[in-house]
Amino acid sequence: MLALSVHRRVLLRSLSCAVVAWCAQPARAADDDEPVLQAEAPPVIVEAEGIDATPVPGETRVELKGRSARMLDVLDAVPGVRVMRAGGQGGAAQLSIRGLHGRRVATYLGPVRLDDPATGILDLSELPAAALSHATLAKGTSSSTEGALGGVLQLRPAYPVQPVLSAGVQLGSWRSLQADVSAGAPTTWRKASLGMTAHARMSTTSGSFAYTPVAGPVDAPVLLPERVRLNNDRHRFGVTLLAAGEWAGGPSATGVLDVVTLEGGVPGYGLAPLTASRESQTRVLAGTDVDVPLGTEVVLRGQWSGRASAWRFQDVRAARQVAGALLTRSLSQRLELVVAPVAGLQVSAGSSAQLDVADSRGDAGWYDAWRPMSGVHGDVRAHAWDGRLRTRAVVVAQVYTSTTGDTWKQPRVPDLVLLPELSAELEPLPNLVMHGAVGRAWRIPSLEELHRPADAPLAGNADLRPEDGVEVQGGMRLLMGPLMGSFTAYGARMSNLIAYVNVNAFDVRPYNVADVWRAGGDVNLVLQLGDWGALDGGADVNLSHVTATNAPLPAVPPFEMHLGALLGPPAARLFTDVVGRAPSRGNLHGELPIRGAMRLDVGAVVHPVPWLEVRATVRNVTDDKALTDWWGVPQPGREFGLSVRWDGAQVE
């Protein structure tokens, strides 16, 4: 029988341990300090069997509890991946894969998509880092997920497979404070097994730091005198519940519920300080995966998720209490039947549906908008040559439409698309894997892009067409003793690029403005030093050409590199990271500069006892206040951080 439910087996193993006692685990600190990235290494999924448990060709597993202790820094060190920050510690952050970001990158927490369907906003800093196990990263176009032109980041929750009792606190520059506490355990009752873990977290930062802005054109940039970034504070509180359950020999399910509330400033730039505002937001997301065995070779899978976000904006300058409010909701479901008729072959087919709703109220008008979408999909995975050749073929047919409260009787003509994807991995030698893929994806315009009111500063455009991308990629990875290396190259074309451009001298709206050619690749090397740590390094190239302007895509550095080292015995280690980025352009016409930069971070992690971890970090050691990131957003100079984490499960 093929094992189609990974979670179930993990849970059972843990439960058998948990009922005896709090299992005496080997010291996990050393595990946590293994190299940040097992680049391109196949995911290791405990006790998983069969095709379903094997990695999708080209996927990368990213361990999120690496030396930097901060999930964002771990992701930032992955070649081809970049975390775009809107400030210092505790500030908002966005994910970029191969130069694409926003709704062009799909980010999931378990079954729930994280980026808001109406606004495209995703703040990685809101995520419950302590509740995450690891991440699965698929760089490049993925037909299986709407909008995944740049890639898919799947954050895997640490479902309750063992007792958890931990707490951490972190202090840092800009009066940043982060604290979290986690508790939970699995239990069994007759045939039922159930586990639940609760995580609570808070963070706060003044967000106020000095920086040196860059002015002038790209060919003659000038560093301006130091300025102070104001109205950049962030105050968050979040709770996450993770649950997993199983009826012995029957269905199994996992679930996640995450609630975040935040309050903070929305800093402006240039002319925008005049309209600087503050925002309050509450976001709730929930999702569940259910597996129901229908026989020895057949499983029915269901996935349901929902999310809701409520924003309230206050105009600081005009002392208005409420300048605008936005409520977005999204519900989605996915059902599929998975069949393994013969050894080495797995076929699944199913359907999906999603409904996104947004209601906006503001001084500049209001709108109610709906965007239903649905699709059917088929997925065939096959293994041959003793599993040394792994292939996958996916085809998705998707349709969507949208409408507003004013025009609900006349919804836009539905758009229909067929999205195929082929991928394969070949292992000609025991330590050599070659992989390749070709696929197509599209990004449906967000509700704000489609229907934002005509009198709003950035009005919508109901005539927008989806962005459409095709991509070819290939690469290899090699393991030679302690040295692991990987290489990937890609070429892609995106048509109907959606960009906000002036429709006249006063109004800016989104339009399908251009096609984009993209090409690049990445390399990565990791050298394991046994118990004494590891060295790793990587670089990526991302070239692009926007046909409408003959300029590269804005805010995409053509070259980025990363070097890292983790050295010392498991009980006390030093680490350092160097991140470098080439200059890039800050606008669609390629005229505004985003400075190239090199940043050096150093730190130490000490485990005086197995259940206690103390970390000290210095980020941006050279105190370069001219670092910029997200569209040239200023970054702070040198930042200090000190964190203490207590893991009660490690106490003997």
């Binding site: 790209v218 600081v316 002392a319 009198d455």
Partner: protein, 525 residues
């Protein structure tokens, strides 16, 4: 064996290959100083087998005779009118060389060889789409009004987003002197960038308005230093009760005001320096359309007294204007300044309109008395342009591609909202922020929405006079994304005589780029 590369790789490599550099056309030669102005003439093929020679205002002395010869054969002859204009056609093919002989009375001008050229080729040679990049949110490009017509000339660029005054070499591109950042200022616990809006320049000095600070700054351009600044902090009585709906916190005390009788002038926009005074338009924006409804206080003209170095002394006077949202101040020739106001600009149901009258007001720079007030209704006037006669103004509209013509000497509306000079057909929203006057009396107006420049002969209000029958496309690369003509600046002096090179700078605000026109490629031999 030849291997076929994947199509995508070839395409990507092709897209990464640098585009061939524009081949610079050979620069026309400097023209002789004669009693005729060859740089004000245009000779092009008008139709197959037919050439046309046109002299614009000032091309020849009144009654001057211009003769077109080929060898000893006279192909055409024409006599200039009182304005020095003439127009003659003759049979000729493209690239045929002819000689122009001009005489006034018994005096002969130095003859000059002209070639019969194709206008579209010449016009494309005239445009240099990218002279230089600029910084964030550029709002104005200008030359010092008294800049030397010879030597290296610097165009100033006001960068609202960067909060700086930058500059560009008018011929070579690139920065001539240091960029000048304008410092932030604390307001009610917040630090606010300067947001420079507009500037005026004389000699080495430039005066920049700081939209977000309610003040001006004096800058030494060659040194890249700030000499001083002036701010207005005293409330000005409005002379009326201003009712605000919805209420706005006008005085910054955290309480929303429903009625206002005085306010501290704010949002300086246009500026003109005349003698020892800087005249600054204060837009007094109290709320914007983004917050539901744009509300403006009465427009005001602030007068800053300047010392011998051009630095504000601290003494100011404020004059209430008749119209709302003043945006521009320009000096006139007779010791006066003209202030233009758009009226209250609103966005209603997705369309822009003004819901109060706009117009132009003329003030005496010494007595500060208002001399003229010309109401342009809902015309939404932008930056006025003083024409060659020294008493007429063209006033473009920011909502339609059209010009009004005013006689400021007599306070008369020559061509107003009822019969404007139409630059484009239709009622689409088309914005003309600025026009510049060429020594030929031709006026070059930038259309923000089409990335093109329309030429108007101010001598008779002819739109697109021959050979400028097609608009001049600044977007030579055919970018599908609008470049946005925001501002134009005319370089002092006669191009091709006093100097050679670019004579019109074009600020493309969306592309954050400065383009240039060298009219020698069209006007002259």
């Amino acid at each position: 064996m030849v291997r076929a590369h994947p199509w995508w790789m070839m395409a990507v490599l092709a897209s990464c290959t640098p585009l061939p550099q524009d081949t610079e056309p050979p620069a026309p030669p400097l023209l002789p100083r004669t009693l005729v102005a060859y740089e004000k003439m245009a000779l092009f093929l008008e139709a197959p087998g037919q050439a046309r020679l046109r002299g614009f205002t000032g091309a020849a002395p009144e009654g001057g005779v211009v003769e077109v010869r080929e060898g000893n054969t006279t192909l055409a002859q024409v006599t200039a009118d009182a304005a020095g204009r003439f127009d003659v056609r003759f049979g000729a093919e493209k690239d045929r060389e002819v000689e122009l002989h001009a005489r006034v009375g018994t005096e002969d001008a130095t003859p000059l060889r002209f070639k019969v050229r194709d206008f579209s080729e010449a016009a494309s040679s005239m445009v240099r789409e990218r002279l230089s990049g600029t910084g964030s949110t550029p709002n104005q490009v200008l030359f010092a009004r008294d800049a030397s017509p010879t030597g290296r000339t610097t165009g100033l660029v006001v960068l609202s987003g960067d909060g700086a005054l930058d500059n560009v070499d008018a011929d070579e591109g690139g920065r001539v002197s240091p960029l000048v950042p304008l410092p932030e200022m604390a307001f009610g616990g917040a630090v606010v960038p300067a947001t420079p809006w507009a500037a005026d320049a004389l000699g080495e000095n430039a005066w920049v308005t700081r939209y977000a600070h309610a003040g001006i700054t004096t800058v030494n351009v060659p040194g890249g230093t700030i000499l001083g600044e002036g701010n207005i902090t005293t409330p000005q009585a409005l002379g009326e009760i201003l009712t605000l709906d919805p209420p706005v916190d006008v005085d910054g005390d955290g309480v929303e005001d429903q009625q206002v009788t005085a306010l501290v002038p704010r949002n300086p926009t246009g500026i003109a320096v005349v003698g020892s005074r800087a005249f600054v338009a204060m837009a007094n924006v109290l709320s914007t359309s983004a917050s539901g409804r744009a509300q403006f206080g009465p427009g005001m003209l602030a007068v800053f007294e300047l010392d011998g170095r051009g630095i504000p002394t601290g003494a100011t006077r404020v004059i209430n204007l008749a119209f709302r949202n003043p945006q521009h101040v320009i000096p006139l020739d007779n010791g006066t300044v003209a202030v233009s106001s758009t009226g209250s600009l609103q966005r209603v149901n997705g369309t822009w309109q003004v819901d109060s009258d706009g117009g132009v007001e003329i003030f005496d720079v010494s007595s500060l008395q208002k001399l003229q007030e010309i109401n342009l209704g809902r015309f939404a006037p932008s930056r006025p342009l003083l024409l060659a006669d020294g008493k007429s103004l063209y006033v473009p509209s920011i909502l339609r591609a059209r010009l009004a013509r005013l006689d400021v000497e007599n306070g008369q509306l020559i061509r107003g909202p009822g019969n404007p000079v139409e630059l484009a057909e239709g009622e689409l929203l088309r914005t003309v922020f600025e026009c510049v006057l060429h020594p030929t009396a031709l006026v070059f107006c930038g259309l923000f929405d089409t990335d093109s420049i329309v030429v108007v002969d101010s001598a008779d209000d002819t739109v697109r006079p021959w050979p400028f029958t097609s608009d001049i496309r600044v977007n030579t690369g055919d970018s599908a994304v609008r470049l946005g003509i925001q501002s134009l600046a005319m370089r002092p002096g006669r191009n091709g005589v006093d100097r050679a090179g670019n004579d019109i700078l074009v600020l493309l605000s969306l592309a954050t780029r400065v383009s240039a026109l060298d009219t020698r490629f069209v006007l002259g031999p």
